[in-house]
């Protein structure tokens, strides 16, 4: 690890250590925050006991479903919109403002239409993630070098072969950025929906634990979510950087 990496680790360790000290010494009330070591111990106990397994499986299942729909649907819509320039120009202002609007305020509307089930949560996840994928697909297709069309003609490739063997690899780095954003947005939307109102799921369990003053369980599951989100985002970030490097080398 580089010097900066060690420094970063030191900063994080010191921050967690200070929190632990502040909790242990009574500077921070035990009813407000429990020491990080207790959070970790509570999480390990909870995972071994298997009490929360159903909820964990449910939440991550919903996240995976929503992200898959968003990635596949966003890609398909992106391809269609890219082929229709007029539609694209008409939609541009909507894409530009989409993430500026708290679309989350429509979650209650979804509940009113589809009832209190997993469906509105999946829809919120898809709604939050899909536009990032559409925009990434459009960007990727825009950056496919014109010369590839000529290459395809030279080799007398069909339209499908051109799309699969030339255009898709050329657009892939941008598509991956879309996937990365879709995962992170979908995750946030699903957890937030479960928090506000849901029949079950991790967000619901944490919000229930808060209402019951069950700090052990609340902090254990919070820690789980934070660890999972950080690890997933870090892995995607590393892959994204590699793709970006390749993109940099492969510039025409």
């Amino acid at each position: 690890m580089s010097k900066i990496g060690w420094l970063r680790l030191a900063v994080i360790v010191i921050a967690v250590g200070l929190l632990e000290l502040a909790c242990r010494s009574g500077l921070i009330d035990h009813r407000v925050v429990i020491p990080p070591s207790e959070m970790a111990a509570a999480l390990v106990r909870l995972l071994i006991s298997g009490q929360a397994n159903d909820q964990i499986a449910r939440t991550f299942g919903i996240v995976v479903t929503a992200v898959l729909i968003a990635v596949v649907g966003g890609f398909a819509l992106g391809v269609v919109i890219h082929a229709l320039p007029r539609v694209r120009h008409a939609l541009d202002p909507f894409f530009a403002t989409y993430y500026a609007v708290p679309i989350f305020i429509f979650y209650p509307v979804m509940i009113a239409i589809f009832g209190l089930s997993a469906v509105p949560i999946v829809l919120m996840g898809v709604a939050t993630a899909i536009v990032a994928m559409i925009i990434a697909t459009l960007n990727g297709l825009d950056r496919v070098p014109r010369v590839l069309d000529k290459v395809a003609r030279l080799h007398r490739m069909g339209r499908i072969a051109t799309a699969l063997r030339l255009k898709l690899p050329a657009a892939a780095p941008h598509l991956f950025t879309g996937v990365k954003l879709a995962v992170s947005y979908g995750f946030i939307a699903v957890i937030a929906s479960e928090f506000i109102l849901a029949p079950a799921g991790l967000g619901r369990v944490i919000s229930d634990a808060y209402t019951d003053f069950n700090n052990q369980r609340m902090y254990a599951l919070m820690l789980l979510l934070i660890v999972v989100a950080t690890v997933v985002n870090m892995v995607l970030h590393v892959f994204d950087q590699r793709w970006a490097e390749r993109r940099g080398i492969g510039k025409p």
Binding site: P102, I105, F195, M222, I226
Partner: protein, 247 residues
């Protein structure tokens, strides 16, 4: 001419959204989703009412303080991490992972610290807004072309003159982009806080309306917030484009 045609196309999309709304209304029934026209009539009646004004004001005040907090903290962190390279290199990945975290999970902690109060909602809103402001400010400072600084030195500008006439204008467009994203996310944070636990504000109004099955009111509030955010974003985007063009 082209602009007019584009505007017309965008209007067609808007009309398509209204038609889709009407069709969905026919499909699921008016208890679940009221039709566009009755909702808009309700909007015209509800927005001037005292109850709406009260809640909108509560949200606006909370949002204002959340915005001030995230701007001042974000700019301070961003400038520090941009100027002090080592802090930037160490801190950037930490900020990025905090940025991608579902911050709603931390709201109970905020509630345990502040209780059900406005400072809690302000803090939660600022937790959303501070990170993009800090990250974009840091990048703006890092991306200043070295030749600008050389030119400043050649002209024998004092440190203060360099900051005012070179660094500030050079970083402004990107900083404004950060402020725009910070605006959006602070608003989201405040609304989430109000939706989760609050008796005041538009977020709580939406949740109450849902529980009382007053779907017209629920959609009205959502549409008003939608328009507010979209207009504010367009304005900030317009400022940003102007700043970019000037450079």
């Amino acid at each position: 001419m082209i602009a007019a045609k584009r505007a017309a196309d965008t209007l067609i999309v808007l009309a398509a959204i209204l038609v889709a709304w009407q069709i969905l209304h026919q499909a699921v029934g008016s208890t679940a989703l009221p039709a566009p026209l009755p909702t808009l009539t309700y909007l015209a009646k509800f927005v001037p009412s005292a109850r709406f004004a009260e809640n909108a004001w509560a949200t606006l005040v909370t949002f204002f303080w959340a915005l001030m907090l995230s701007y001042s903290l974000g700019l301070a962190i961003g400038v520090w991490m941009g100027v002090h390279r080592l802090s930037g290199a160490v801190g950037e990945p930490i900020l990025i992972s905090l940025y991608t975290l579902p911050k709603i999970t931390l709201y109970p902690v905020v509630l345990l610290i502040f209780g059900l109060s406005m400072p809690g909602r302000v803090t939660f809103g600022a937790m959303h807004g501070v990170l993009p402001v800090a990250l974009l400010t840091m990048n703006a400072i890092r991306n200043i072309p070295p030749v600008y600084l050389k030119a400043a030195r050649t002209l024998h500008l004092s440190e203060w003159q360099t900051i005012v006439t070179v660094l500030f204008p050079a970083t402004l467009p990107e900083v404004v982009a950060g402020l725009r994203i910070g605006f959006t996310l602070s608003l989201l944070g405040v609304l989430l806080a109000e939706m989760f636990a609050s008796e005041h504000g538009l977020g709580s109004l939406i949740i109450n309306a849902m529980q009382l099955l007053q779907n017209e009111e629920m959609i009205t509030v959502a549409v008003v917030l939608f328009l507010f955010a979209a207009l504010a974003n367009s304005l900030l985007l317009w400022i940003e484009h102007h700043l970019h063009r000037r450079i």
